[in-house]
């Protein structure tokens, strides 16, 4: 489908050779091919946009560029000569600077000290710093990028946008000719973004090449001279923004292969409402969340990483306090914390099952009864035989592959660990299951089993809210889905409208 859209544009370039060219870069991690034959070039004075879904390989590519990862195969050509980028020192020598979302600034040093960290001008006495030169040089760098601020201000006092400017100043002061930016506007207001864009245009005019990773369709078109789209570790195409529409871009990004073979039986009629959320807001950054989950339904909650999905789950569960809005569970308004949620029959199956969902060094049996202790042993006395009966039942029912209930959970496979977490909440009598990325890090076969299990749960009258970055999964198993963008619900998709394209379109700054 997307093959027809591969517009290998060759826009006119001032310089005949690229500043940096990557050819056939591969990088694998156990079980994942993060980068697969990626080729990519940047010319001086242009902004090369890098676009792709979560997990498409953008961060891996960035880490290869700055020397944090070593590529398994492929070559780098800098100014027409073959080079190696094996360390951050290599990258620095080639003039490559990366600005990560997590800044590398020291909070209680001032702007000048941060810009020249490790490169301080020497004072007269060995080991001392020529402070006058330090601040003079800093002033010059800041003037160069048009950032009017006193270089003696401590970085801890700066806002995110200003800290980013300091990072850019630091890169510029090291004569960076290739600037790689990872979603630089993610934490900026519109006005701050505009200032950043002005700076980027200025750097461009100076002949700096910029690799810009973004999720925002609007800025991709506003700023990009070229757009590369990554998907599943491959570069699926490079397009000229002047000759491409947002819709074409979205179509290039989606289309990951569906690797779940589990067929779901979608219920014709929906059951009674289990959970209703009205106008929910929290201090963790979500606002005005409205959603409904009914018996027998699997409802998807999608959006980009950082769009607030996990925060919604935590707020519903009571792990974060609501600053506004209502959470109605089974017709009753719920106001308490996780304790109350568990008692009412809510289960949160967190993304990080090893640290949050399981007592890893305890046995399968112990873990299975952990959330149901109150219910199983109201007297407060633990009865081993009763616990054993309950856990053996669950092991059989969920087909958990384990030698016995006494096996330590840490030794189970990812899929089986996930089943133990689900079993734990089943024992506690949960009726609404919130799954946060339940299939992350488990193999394809186990994925199908997990979905079969979720289907089995909802067929038995429970309800499920499923958070996943795998849009194909959402489309495959969900009755409906909500798409989040920047802390809000951007839209709801009914079963018939549930396509990857629609999810991406709603989840990005566009359409």
């Amino acid at each position: 489908m997307s093959a027809a859209l591969r517009i290998d544009a060759t826009p006119s370039r001032d310089s005949p050779t690229p500043l940096l060219e990557l050819r056939g870069i591969c990088k694998s991690f156990p079980g994942v091919k993060a980068l697969n034959e990626v080729s990519f070039a940047v010319w001086p004075g242009e902004v090369h946009m890098l676009l792709g879904e979560n997990g498409a390989g953008k961060s891996s590519l960035m880490k290869v560029l700055c020397g944090a990862y070593n590529a398994d195969a492929g070559e780098f050509i800098h100014h027409g000569t073959k080079v190696a980028i094996a360390s951050s020192a290599d990258a620095k020598r080639l003039g490559i600077a990366v600005i990560f979302q997590e800044f590398s600034l020291v909070p209680y040093l001032d702007i000048a000290q941060n810009i020249f960290l490790g490169r301080e001008p020497n004072g007269r006495i060995p080991g001392t710093i020529d402070r006058r030169k330090l601040y003079r040089d800093a002033r010059r760098v800041l003037d160069d990028i048009g950032f009017d601020i006193d270089p003696t201000v401590t970085v801890a006092k700066l806002g995110v946008a200003q800290q980013q400017m300091v990072e850019i100043a630091k890169a510029v002061s090291q004569n960076a000719r290739i600037l790689v930016m990872d979603e630089p506007t993610a934490a900026l207001s519109d006005r701050e973004s505009e200032l950043l864009f002005r700076l980027i245009r200025r750097l461009k005019a100076d002949g700096v090449a910029i690799v810009y990773i973004s999720h925002r369709i609007a800025e991709v078109f506003a700023l990009g001279d070229r757009i590369s789209v990554l998907r599943d570790g491959r570069r699926v195409g490079e397009v000229d923004p002047a000759r491409t529409t947002p819709d074409q871009l979205v179509r290039m990004m989606v289309g990951r292969s569906v690797d779940i073979s589990y067929p779901r039986n979608f219920a014709a009629t929906s059951g009674k409402t289990v959970l209703e959320v009205v106008g929910l807001s929290t201090s963790t950054g979500i606002a005005d969340i409205d959603l409904v989950v009914r018996e027998g339904e699997i409802v998807g909650l999608c959006g980009l990483v950082g769009s607030g999905r996990t925060e919604v789950a935590r707020a519903i569960f009571g792990a974060d306090l609501a600053s506004a809005g209502k959470i109605i569970f089974d017709g009753h308004e719920k106001s308490g914390g996780p304790d109350e949620a568990t008692r009412l029959g809510l289960a949160l199956i967190p993304e990080n099952r090893k640290s949050e969902g399981l007592a890893l060094m305890r046995s399968v049996g112990d873990n299975l009864v952990l959330a149901a202790l109150h219910k199983l042993f109201p007297s407060g006395l633990f009865e081993p035989r009763r616990a054993r009966r309950v856990s053996d039942d669950l092991i059989a029912k969920l087909r958990i592959v384990t030698p016995s209930a006494r096996q330590t959970v840490a030794f189970l496979s990812g899929g089986n660990q996930q089943k133990v977490v689900i079993g734990k909440w089943l024992a506690a009598g949960a009726r609404l299951f919130i799954f946060d990325e339940p299939t992350r890090g488990i193999d394809v076969g186990a994925k199908a089993e997990i979905f079969a299990l979720i289907d089995q749960l909802v067929a038995g009258g429970a309800a499920a809210l499923l958070i996943s970055s795998e849009q194909a999964e959402i489309c495959h198993v969900c009755d409906r889905a909500y798409v989040m963008r920047e802390g809000r619900i951007a839209g709801e998709l009914a079963r018939a409208e549930l396509t990857e394209e629609n999810i991406v379109r709603l989840g990005m700054h566009h359409g």
């Binding site: 590398s104 909070p107 000290q113 490790g118 009017d148 601020i149 201000v153 946008a161």
Partner: protein, 316 residues
């Protein structure tokens, strides 16, 4: 992100003055309660007595700025004060005693640094271990007894004056100036802020956080060794429990002085004021003839009070 200079104070060292408020309060209260408090003799006395704590608190500030802790300081001071006593007793030389003390202190500091930075042992545990070893060695070296008969050249360090200023005060001022220069005017000092604030930034800049951290602990050990000389001079003996609990006073002075235990947010002048606050408090309670048990409890209360004032400031 304003294009014009934003309304941000350009003084990175401007701090919530919790410690200044507390110090002023203490001086006012004690001056009212005990008239002899503000006599020049007594003020000199407070300063002289505070020197020892200052010598520990200055390097403790650097250690805490790296998000670390050096619990072994008091015990290393005890050990080195006994070493000063033994070496000066057998050689008659103050200088040799000092050299031996600083050497042993530095070895302990290097060991702490290696345990913390090289082996990644939490500072609390690592320095608690070396605390025990230093204390044990002090007991072995002294056989559990005070080492007496110290040569005059050693006791002179505490009793002599330079241009009619008591020598300990001169030592304290010089030590403060040296640490101020080190922290605020050298590359090494700049990197101390980064050790606590963002170690990755150092790595990106091609520096070794491990080596820098070991150096910070080594300075801490060397200073404990140097302070050992002053302790022996002051007690006119090497005593096997001389430095007991001094690390807690040092940590208290640093905390009172407004240095944070996180993110490399340190303030050296605050530490000096914190040392004075602790010194004034102990001296004042002495003048009022209150038992020393009250003094111990008051230092604890002082920490809480100073942090309370800082908290009030930063919240408003």
């Amino acid at each position: 992100m304003a294009e014009t200079a934003p309304a941000i104070s350009a003084h990175p060292l401007r701090r919530p003055p919790g410690v200044a408020i507390v110090l002023t309060l203490l001086v006012v209260v004690f001056a009212a309660a005990a008239p002899s408090f503000i006599s020049s003799t007594n003020i000199a006395n407070v300063l002289v007595q505070s020197t020892l704590l200052l010598l520990l608190s200055l390097p403790m500030t650097l250690v805490i700025m790296t998000e670390g802790l050096d619990l072994s300081m008091g015990a290393v001071l005890t050990l080195t004060s006994i070493i000063v006593a033994i070496v000066s007793l057998s050689t008659g030389s103050m200088a040799l005693g000092l050299l031996a003390a600083v050497t042993v202190g530095t070895v302990f500091g290097l060991a702490n640094g290696y345990l913390v930075a090289g082996l990644n042992i939490p500072p609390f545990v690592a320095t608690l271990g070396t605390l025990g070893m230093a204390q044990g060695l002090a007991l072995i070296a002294s056989d559990g007894q005070s080492v007496v008969g110290i040569p005059r050249s050693v006791t002179e360090v505490y009793l002599a004056s330079l241009f009619s200023v008591p020598l300990p005060i001169v030592i304290g001022v010089v030590a403060y100036l040296a640490f101020h220069g080190l922290l605020y005017h050298t590359r090494f000092g700049t990197y101390i802020f980064a050790l606590g604030g963002n170690r990755e930034a150092l790595t990106y800049a091609g520096l070794s956080p491990t080596k820098l951290l070991i150096a910070v602990y080594a300075i801490s050990g060397a200073m404990a060794g140097f302070a050992g000389l002053l302790m022996t001079a002051r007690m006119n003996a090497g005593h096997p429990t001389a430095g007991l609990g001094l690390e807690f006073d040092a940590i208290a002075a640093v905390a009172v002085g407004g240095t944070s235990f996180e993110r490399g947010n340190g303030w050296l002048l605050g530490t000096a004021l914190g040392v004075l606050a602790v010194g004034v408090l102990r001296n004042g309670l002495n003048l009022l003839a209150l038992p020393s048990s009250i003094q111990v409890a008051s230092v604890g209360a002082l920490v809480i009070l100073a942090l309370f004032f800082d908290g009030l400031r930063s919240r408003s």
